[in-house]
Amino acid sequence: MSGVAGSRQRFLGRRSYIELLARERARAVLDAGTFRELLGPFDGLKSPWLPLQGVVAQADDGVVIARGLIDGKAAVVAAVEGRYQGGSIGEVCGSKIAGALELALRDCERGSPVRPVLLLETGGVRLQEANLGLAVIAEIQAAIIALRRHVPVVAVVAGIVGCYGGMSLAAALCSTLIMTRQARLGMNGPEVIEQEAGIAELDAGDRALIWSLMGGEQRYATGLADALLEDDVDEIAAEVRRAFANPPGPARSEQVERFAERLARVDVALPPSPRALRDVWRREGGA
């Protein structure tokens, strides 16, 4: 485990990862000069559903699939573009992710491992594609679980969108989950909770509260993420390599007894503050 890597002195030398578009992010985690995009913008696979609802479609439907190498080993990266439709998952872009993972699985089963990396930046299901969005998210989840038996599946959530909805489950299914301080991870977005349960339940405008619940630092401090990084391209690329070099144990989502025991330590009727929860769910081992 890496812990909070880097130091403030290197601030001037940093190159922001968060500011990069999905294509540049994918390029950044692959070995230099090995990026090869699949189903790129010129392949013309757009959402068939958005224009029917008067919404302009992006040529790659908001997901970049790239093959290349990571530390010299075959890899595939799926990067979600958070600036397009909030990184929402529709039929085409979700099928690109699921399909890429399914092909990686096929190669693994044939004895040619492929290192899969998910660069997530997503609000979850694209509401204009509703049931199909949910269906492809189930397919992405199925593919992660099957593939994880052969090779670590590594996810990065960096910000600024964060990772929500069914894709937060996908992130939690991964072998290794890397976050930045600017990242948020939760099943339900703050706005959705406020709409569903009222402002007394959660004030979506209270940024400090939202970050204290779902921010990368909190998720890392309570053992729900494996690494907490600064917004730095080199650090993120290095952490992805570490995740493959030192294969992790079972994914969190497989460790039912361990997490049930953790939950039993919490008084649900009077839940602790996010800060106090860090003491109850202190990181175990590492960091």
Binding site: L21, P41, F42, V55, V56, A57, A59, E81, R83, Y84
Partner: protein, 97 residues
């Protein structure tokens, strides 16, 4: 949502293609590739209706300097004319890079 088409005469054959931008708030993406005839064909899909004259103005300006025989696809999410011109120039620049 509105779809618009424009055609301009062209003199220069292209061999490469370029993609810039993102269909995000106030932004657009431009896909530029070689066309098979002596014209540049622009197809615009924009989220904002009723600005055909503004699009024509911006494209007139761009094609005042750009003479490539290109198929240009623009997917726009409410970009200002300034941003549109910037992205077109970035795409043209990427052809030369």
């Amino acid at each position: 949502m509105e779809r618009l088409s424009f055609t301009y005469p062209a003199r220069e054959r292209l061999t490469r293609r370029a993609h810039v931008g993102v269909v995000g708030s106030g932004d657009l993406e431009v896909l530029l590739q070689p066309s098979s005839d002596q014209h540049a064909h622009v197809s615009v899909t924009t989220s904002v209706d009723g600005f055909a004259a503004v699009w024509k103005n911006v494209l007139d300006r761009f094609f005042g300097r750009f003479e490539g025989a290109a198929l240009i696809e623009i997917n726009d999410f409410g970009a200002t004319p300034g941003v549109v011109l910037l992205r077109l120039e970035q795409a043209a620049e990427a052809l030369r890079a």
